[in-house]
Symmetry: C2
Subunit: 408 residues, 2 copies
């Protein structure tokens, strides 16, 4: 089996994660920022030193290629996004780039030139953290990002998207995409959950990324004096909210994994101790790997909300503002990953991803799979995000073995 040393993982991650807009633990590297430009250029230098051919597309996605000896036009790729959230960790995104680099370097060191081309992809943006737009990198690879979605948006310092982009030396995609031909793409990423940690597994082979629906719900009842309004005369929106949350979570538990539902956000009005609440706005986020199951649960949620609103003469307004389909991974690559894990005694588990990733943009277009490595306590998007290098090794080995299987 390809040898990957924990010290090497730490060395690479210490180096790349230190290229940050902020000092201290973790990484802040927003799209087109100074440290973003520095990271892409530093990676270019590193990859070129190893003899790879480095190219950028118009928006700033970077591709580093080790040409194949027999079928150089066949591209076996791996990578992830180079941007982070504000006060992000040292792993989210950038680990996938460095893992691809370490795996490919180890392969070439061990086996020489591949038959098919190996390609590292360092994508411009995934997080939507600087500007209100996510997947700018992967969507541009496939030519599906729309100019009109970003031309009027700015960051929180009022810097327009276009200004940031051109100052970083990039621009809009012109003509057809040039880097959208992949015969295989494997993204390695931290799990950002606690499933692997809880189950003691070191490698997660992702077979699907969940679909998700997000709602904003407004209930309009009647604000009243908390002392002088008898219970029977109330239109208490917090009561209705509580009944909805309870009933929907009970149903989700009954249906079971992988369905999840979260009521993460709530604003009560007037939000005063001695006033019966007259208005509430709250969020619902629900996810499932199966489209039919997700649709059925969303229908159930909508019915429950209407039922409780009607029972109290409360007005309910639902806004379904996100409706992403589940994305199955390529079953052939998933099988390759299972096989190499089995053959090399790697401690793996086939699982789904509850979070979105660049791979969900790739998967409907090219054969795609993902490898998860554990996240300590599932903490992510936080400087405390961490995984011990010894718990990352098996994931990088699985990646290397799969790339070997596919490209040699």
């Amino acid at each position: 089996m390809i040898e990957i040393l924990p010290e090497e993982i730490d060395r690479q991650m210490d180096w790349i994660s230190s290229i940050s807009d902020k000092e201290g633990k973790g990484t802040t590297r927003l799209l087109y920022s100074e440290s973003w430009v520095k990271a892409q250029n530093s990676l270019k230098e590193l990859f070129e030193k190893d003899g790879m051919k480095v190219e950028f597309d118009e928006v700033g996605n970077m591709f580093a290629t080790i040409e194949g000896s027999e079928s150089p036009e066949t591209i076996i790729a791996s990578g992830s996004h180079v941007d982070t959230v504000v006060d992000g960790g040292r792993l989210d995104g950038q680990l996938g780039i460095m893992a691809a680099y370490m795996a490919m370097k180890a392969l070439v060191d061990e086996y020489g030139q591949p038959k098919k081309s190996l390609r590292i992809v360092s994508m411009a943006e995934e997080e939507g953290s600087r500007f209100p737009y996510a997947f700018w990198g992967s969507k541009n690879i496939f030519g599906i990002a729309k100019k009109e979605d970003v031309e009027n948006i700015s960051d929180n310092k009022e810097v327009p998207f276009e200004t940031a982009m051109t100052e970083a030396g990039f621009g809009y995609l012109t003509g057809a995409p040039r880097f959208n031909n992949f015969d295989a793409f494997i993204e390695l990423h931290i799990e950002q959950g606690n499933f692997l940690e809880n189950s003691g597994k070191k490698v997660g082979i992702v077979n699907a990324i969940v679909g998700q629906k997000r709602y904003t719900v407004k209930l309009n009842g009647e604000a009243n004096h908390a002392g002088t309004t008898l219970m029977k005369y109330r239109k208490d929106v917090v009561e209705s909210y509580a009944r909805i949350v309870t009933e929907v979570i009970d149903k989700a538990n009954e249906i079971g994994d992988p369905l999840v539902v979260t009521f993460g956000h709530a604003e009560v009005t007037p939000n005063v101790v001695n006033v019966v609440p007259g208005e509430i706005e709250f969020s619902i986020d629900t996810r499932h790997t199966d489209q039919k199951a997700l649709n059925e649960f969303a229908e159930y949620i909508e019915k429950v909300i209407q039922k409780h609103a009607d029972a109290k003469g409360i007005q309910a307004e639902l806004n379904l503002w996100m409706d992403e389909q589940p994305v199955p991974m390529d079953q052939e690559i998933v099988s390759v990953l299972e096989n190499v894990c089995d053959q090399n005694g790697l401690n793996y588990q086939v699982m789904h991803s509850g979070a979105g990733h660049d791979s969900q943009i790739f998967a409907p277009r090219v054969p795609t799979a993902m490898i998860f490595v554990p996240s300590i306590k599932g903490i992510s998007h936080n400087p405390e995000e961490h995984t011990e290098a010894v718990d990352i090794v098996q994931g990088v080995q699985a990646l290397a073995e799969a790339l070997k299987e596919l490209a040699y």
Copy 2:
């Protein structure tokens, strides 16, 4: 029956409610503000013009007395508080002062000097709206306000309580209270609820003011990624909150009137769509006219919270920061009120008060009762607070007839 004209009510309320810190509808008259000083002085002038003897105590409570012919030391009083909340209405508090004036003036016009003394009480403060201290007026009448509770508090413009008080020409109570001898006190007030409006009654005879308990509850669970954390691994505080609210409100409905419970305030942390909420702080306000029933319900609430916290491994922290006892009104005065309503064909209902009033400070110390007049839609503490004068008339008549019964 004593005649009270709706036009006279409107004339008096238009006049007094226009003395405000702000232009426009409603009244803003904060303790010791310019308009507060003007209101007390204008009332003094009005009452003196009618031959009453007007006195202030040290803190600014005002007492206007029509001396009795036979037993002048026996005081039959009526009144309310002269302050309002910010952007308050034209009735809350001040109607009780003007109703006392109109009733006593009508009595003297019709029947001449009373046998016992009649006294209007215009109290300095009840709302706790400028400074974080309520019942400053009534508590000083009985010498139970504590200097240490106000000497370090300021308003939201950083004006210390003491500075505001001395600039208005007042100070702390010195020596024993001088105006605490009442043989009867009747406070007329708007209901601030919709019970009278819904039942079509014009006069509420209050037999008790509810006791109330207020809690702040903090639940500490675990914030987690909304996609990657399976339902079974969650410590979702919004789920626990929803179960608590549902169960407590179900129980309150089962127990029935006059028990009320309100979850008016809630703050979720981090309050983000795609994060399982890790913390919530929420309020509980529960009220009942019976101490035992209130205590039992509070015990029930505490158990329900603990049960749901334990079920999820969530930490619950309860802070009972208000615990006011129910205050029964004087049954003799209540009977007098019932009798005069019966005799004069007034459309009344014996009821409880779900809100706190100056009368709850009086009632444990002197024979006290309250009269409610309707509030349109129960709206109060709002410039839209309103009651048509025709719907106030019967309340003022009931007050006048009861004062006649007690003082003549």
